[in-house]
């Protein structure tokens, strides 16, 4: 087993050996259900999951940084980072091992929303393709948020600071694409810049995937975002691991 897999396995196990995973899953599942029904799931009288996916970015803004905040901040605070980086593990292997373990954990959380799919299928005949792309978009968005959280976790030893910084960064990237924000900035910014802001946002690309169209630009947005923040995380970590 190479070092990446060793870190990945240890990290994933650690979620379930502490109450963290269970607390997270219960809160996530409760709010994802609550927000869906509050948004008028029945009143829409449509057998689709748009009410569910619509609220995910907002939920992720808080939930994903809460998963990511401990990734490196805790290692640095407890000092276990000294053990980790005196074992034959490269920084890239460690960062990727932790990132993918946390990502898989979020995928498990998303997979546990399956009763929603069953409900929709029971009530009508939904477009399964739309549900699949909706989940794919959510999976990529979780990865993007996680990469940002991972970076801020490496920036500070303090988990609360990491959490707050990640929430702010994620919120900016979500709200930049909201219609209200865009209509406001279009009053004083040229159309080119407004479009640039729109394209920088999670919301725009997530909605696009959720509509059932898998465009190269949307996929590459998420993939580049993840690679960029993960690379930044590795650089910061290499610089600050011993401080």
């Amino acid at each position: 087993m190479n070092s990446f897999l060793a870190v990945f396995k240890r990290e994933l196990k650690s979620y379930f050996t502490t109450p963290l995973a269970y607390v997270f899953l219960v809160i996530f599942l409760f709010f994802s259900g609550y927000l869906t029904f509050k948004e008028g799931f029945y009143e829409m009288r449509q057998a689709d999951m748009s009410a569910f996916f619509m609220n995910l970015p907002l939920l992720f803004v808080f939930m994903v940084p809460s998963t990511a905040m401990r990734l490196w901040a805790e290692e640095r605070k407890v000092g276990s980072i000294e053990l980790l980086f005196t074992l034959p593990i490269t920084i890239t292997q460690a960062v990727l091992g932790k990132f993918f373990a946390a990502w898989l954990f979020l995928v498990i959380a998303l997979a546990l929303t399956f009763p929603m799919v069953i409900t929709v299928c029971y009530l009508g005949e939904p477009d399964i393709g739309l549900i699949i792309t909706g989940y794919l978009g959510s999976f990529l968005m979780a990865g993007g948020f996680l990469a940002i959280g991972c970076f801020f976790s490496a920036v500070s030893k303090n988990q609360v600071i990491s959490f707050v910084l990640s929430v702010v960064a994620c919120a900016v990237l979500v709200f930049a694409g909201m219609p209200t924000t865009l209509s406001y900035v279009s009053t004083f910014l040229p159309a080119g810049l407004v479009s640039a802001i729109e394209n920088m946002s999670f919301q725009t690309h997530f909605e696009s995937i959720q509509r059932g169209v898998l465009k190269f630009e949307d996929l590459s947005y998420f993939i580049l975002l993840i690679i960029g923040w993960i690379a930044a995380c590795s650089i910061v970590l290499d610089e600050r691991k011993a401080r």
Partner: protein, 239 residues
Amino acid sequence: MIEVKELRRSFGPVVAVDGISFSVEKGQVLGLLGPNGAGKSTAMRMLACFLRPDSGTATILGYDILKNPIEVRRSIGYLAENVPAYNEMTVGSFLNFVCDTRQIKGKERKQALDRIVPKCSIDSVYHQTIETLSKGYKRRVGLAQALIHDPDVLILDEPTDGLDPNQKHEVRKLINKMAKDKCIIISTHILEEVEAVCSRTIIIAKGRILVDSTPGQLKEKYQCGLDAVFRRITRNGKK
């Protein structure tokens, strides 16, 4: 086996290690002595490839700490000062994780665990989580993870700190037993430990090497115990 050349590292305006050079051969147990803040741990952290030196370098078993850090880490056993570990893990799962990272698999892993667990006397706490262990047991678990791959080079930062007298005796016996086939560097504040296990002593203060000798020669030269030698050298700050 270890060749240190002009190793230097500072933290902001504070120079922690100021151009130290020494070499250690197989069969030697080098005791790194010095007052608090002398730079012992920083030097060890650089040798274990956790900290990057500002200048200078070192080679361990022919691998350069700057050019081949992974090879260096693979071939050494390192016990850090505060014995970092994953507190939520059990001792068994922690040692298995270390085996995973060191690519110790199958039969080889079973043999390694069967050898190291009784050697470090951690059989009774094998299924306990690390956070519930006493300081002494934590240190023994740290020692087990440093020895699990039977490395040729050992770097141990205060290996007996927090252990009771029986455990101290056991660890010293263990170090003496391993001494002839390995190259060992230990840092300590306990001077009786130097006499018990070290074949050579380096005293450092303010990041510089003040003395490089054997405990016997030091006592002979200064005509007093190691305690007094240590005080005299580190207070004067010169050889």
